[in-house]
Amino acid sequence: MRIAAPVLACVLTLIVGSLFFASLGHDPLPTLYAFFIEPLSSMNGLSEWLLKASPLILIACGLAIGFRANVWNIGAEGQFTMGAIAASGVGLFWPNPESALLLPLMFLAGMAAGMAWAAIPAFLRSRMNTNEILVTLMMTYIATLFLSYLVHGPWRDPAGFNYPQTALLPAAAMFQSFDPAYRLNSSIFITVVAVLLMWLFTDRSFLGYKMSVSGAAPLAARYAGFRESAAVWIGLLAGGAAAGIAGMAEAAGPLGQLSPQISPGYGFAAIIVAFIGRLNAFGIVLGGLLMSLLFLGGEGVQMTLALPSALTRIFQGILLFFLLAADFFIFYRIRLVRPVKDAPALETAR
């Protein structure tokens, strides 16, 4: 049944999506074709598909480690942004722009920045018992505004015609594309390694075991002496590290520079990916590919059929809604309760 829920949610999303297209005056079948099939029918489409799936999968793997322990990091978008900022900072200002160490240093900087941004809610939660959902979310807005400040102010490219963006990163600070014609680059291997590490951690390691006990039965974790604060720290830092690395790979890959909008909402979409994937490493790969297709298809129909760009978000929302609903109906049963007949007595009670 745990597998059935995502499948059911996808089918329902397609049905509601079709109704939606019909209501906008488009024939559903060709539109669905344009949305889901056309993007994958070219080499460039496939490249873009994997390119967008990669950060989603990477971030979702990190988040799922926390989610399994009931640590709700909703702020991957902010950690992604901070990772991109830190990595770009190293790439732009490192004294030797041709150093072979540049890319590894940017990787470390991105990871550290993502973790540092997640460490703040972790500290607040474990020390002051604040709600990490709220804190991580609010930290996202701080990160976004910080990025905006940098690209409008101190980091703005002097030769950039006053556009709010940084200078381009030097070549040594960029991942190489597999083929100059397409944008897909070697950073995808980072995601492959992350998926394998995530699987090893959750399915095989003792630390992952402790985390799953914390999530499934907090009293049993306390009984066994597993530290609650450890679950909070590991859960948030794993999500922060993954999001930070994803931000670095985005800056050092398709973007090549910072601008106010560096993410089409990867950090939030990854939450949906983690749940569609049932918090399982290989499920997350499938979930990420699906979510990436939604991004691509949304862009596609926007261009070819002039449908609104909000469509992508709407599809994401419908999908998550149906997934949660399907889970709910699998675990609970609805029963109608008839109202009481002799209501007068209740009247006197009032």
């Binding site: 799953s212 006990v213 039965a217 002496g225 009481v340 002799d342 009670a349």
Partner: protein
């Protein structure tokens, strides 16, 4: 006479188990009828079928001579069948009358309902103030609320599931008085229990179940407990062997002047608790539930830590400030009262639950869980403790309470502890398994382990303990040697009174039942 309730050839099958096999029984109006049996004998399934919460695969139920065709709990209530569950379903933060109103199926008027509650509870000799908050009530009083809730429906048949498991001996006497009065007025009572002495004292007839089948019907007052026990567990009635204790010279567990504030409004403050447990002996803690046992055991296990490190010493090491896993490194093992969610993770398999506390025993290597070893460890427990489970891959929640308890006790004993803490070792566990668990605990102690047992069953404590402590309102009595004390002395200490000598001081303390 027309029987109040008649079950004819009831059978109920679950995948892999026959829960009830051709069960027939007849209950007359005004009869107190015991249903005796071990856990897993099919008592609960049968009660669910009578109450309509489960449907029989075959067989018929007649109430007052009429066949009940489509059965469900609403139908039961309209027929006058009510049930008092073993674990109460009361909301702590509202008053008695509000609790009862919440469960009313029809509309109600609060002031008149309160008046009815007062009247009914007085008539049956179990007075309750309808406006008191439930969290202020003792367990015995809470049970009265549950019973009054049923009585308000003017039941013709009342089902009670293990009603005495949380009561003091004195409160049991009062409950029995109420039940006899009800029966005298014509209400039939089904009394589910595994306590033979109570059934013999209270019940007119008994139907004994074993493996889903009726193994006998008896008049308990005219039958010996040995005969009843044989019917329940077959010929394999285990006997306890308790050899004399040989306590170690130095105590393994030392508790010195331990005081602690309750963590929440409903808890109990511990005041100046001191006692020792030596290797090779079993020390029991008696008391009515909710007098500080939960707080004390959490402080001993490390689930709650204490700033004053030397208030608790394990093998001479100050341990009160240590975490549970650090105390386990000093040789502690612990069987908690809640099996699901505390002693075991419900959704995890048995091998995963073995890793929970056995991770220092070869099931984790280089930071990775060794699945094969964990499975072997779990299989070892399953075999040695005869846990009925579908192998190490069965989830903890798929096991019956008694079997999961055997697994948890087995796991903790397999850790070869120097100090074993056990809370409610046989709560809800059937006679056969209880005897086995008790014997295992005794054997462990005779091999040199210090054992500390918290239990609400006095019989159990008298059976296995060498010394007894009594807890009341967060204070622990000086130790009593089992062979030189009796149930009466313990019972009085449980209610906060001392023996005869100190009459004036004792009488000012309210009886907690």
């Amino acid at each position: 006479m027309q029987p109040r309730l008649e079950l004819r050839n009831i059978s109920k099958r679950y995948p892999g188990v026959v829960a009830n096999d051709d069960v027939s029984l007849t209950i007359q109006p005004g009869e107190i009828h015991a249903v005796l049996g071990e856990n897993g004998a099919g008592k609960s399934t049968l009660m669910k079928i009578i109450y309509g919460a489960a449907q029989a695969d075959s067989g018929e139920i007649y109430c007052d001579g009429n066949l009940i065709a489509a059965h469900n709990p609403a139908m039961s209530r309209s027929l006058g069948i009510e049930m008092v569950y073993q674990h109460f379903a009361l909301f702590e933060s509202v008053s008695v009358v509000e609790n009862i109103a919440l469960s009313a199926s029809s509309a109600f008027n609060l002031p008149s309902l309160a008046e009815k509650i007062r009247e009914l509870s007085l008539r049956y000799g179990m007075p309750i103030d309808p406006h008191r908050q439930v969290h202020d009530l003792s367990v015995g009083e809470r049970q009265r609320v549950e019973i009054v809730r049923c009585l308000l429906q003017a039941p013709k048949l009342l089902i009670l599931d293990e009603p005495t498991s949380v009561l003091t001996p004195q409160a049991v006497v009062k409950l029995f008085g109420t039940l006899r009065q009800l029966a005298a007025e014509g209400c039939s009572i089904v009394y589910i229990s595994h306590k033979l002495d109570e059934v013999q004292e209270l019940c007119d007839t008994a139907t004994v179940l074993r493996n889903g089948k009726v193994t006998g019907t008896a008049r308990p007052k005219e039958t010996t407990s040995l005969e009843l026990a044989r019917m329940m567990v077959g010929s394999r009635l285990p006997e306890m062997h308790v050899s004399p204790a040989a306590p170690s010279e130095k105590p393994v567990l030392e508790v010195r002047n331990l005081s602690a504030k309750a963590r929440d409004h409903f808890g109990v403050d511990l005041e100046d608790v001191s006692f020792n447990v030596h290797g090779g002996e079993i020390v029991g803690l008696a008391g009515v539930s909710g007098n500080g046992q939960a707080e004390l055991i959490a402080l001993l296990s490390g689930e709650r830590r204490h700033a004053q490190g030397d208030a608790i010493k394990i093998n001479g090491t100050a341990a009160a400030a240590l975490r549970p896993d650090e105390r386990r490194r000093l040789g502690l093992a612990f069987v908690p009262e809640e099996r699901l969610g505390r002693g075991a993770v419900p959704s995890h398999t048995l091998w995963e639950n073995a890793v929970l506390t056995a991770h220092r025993f070869g099931t984790v290597r280089n930071g990775l869980v060794d699945r094969r070893r964990a499975a072997a460890f779990a299989t070892g427990i399953i075999d040695r403790f005869k846990v009925k489970a579908n192998g190490p891959d069965a989830t903890a929640q798929s096991l019956s309470g008694g079997n999961l308890q055997k697994f948890i006790v087995g796991r903790e004993i397999a850790l070869a502890p120097k100090l074993l803490l056990v809370s409610q070792p046989t709560w809800g566990v059937d006679v056969g398994a209880s005897a086995f668990i008790r014997q295992t605990i005794v054997d462990l102690s005779r091999a040199g382990t210090a054992v500390f047992v918290v239990s609400e069953e006095l019989d159990e404590l008298f059976e296995i303990c060498d010394r007894l402590l009594v807890i009341c309102k967060g204070r622990v009595s000086p130790p009593l040697v089992r062979t030189s004390t009796d149930r009466e002395e313990i019972g009085l200490l449980m209610t906060g009174r001392t023996m005869g000598k100190d009459q004036t001081g004792g009488s000012s303390v309210a009886l907690q039942d």
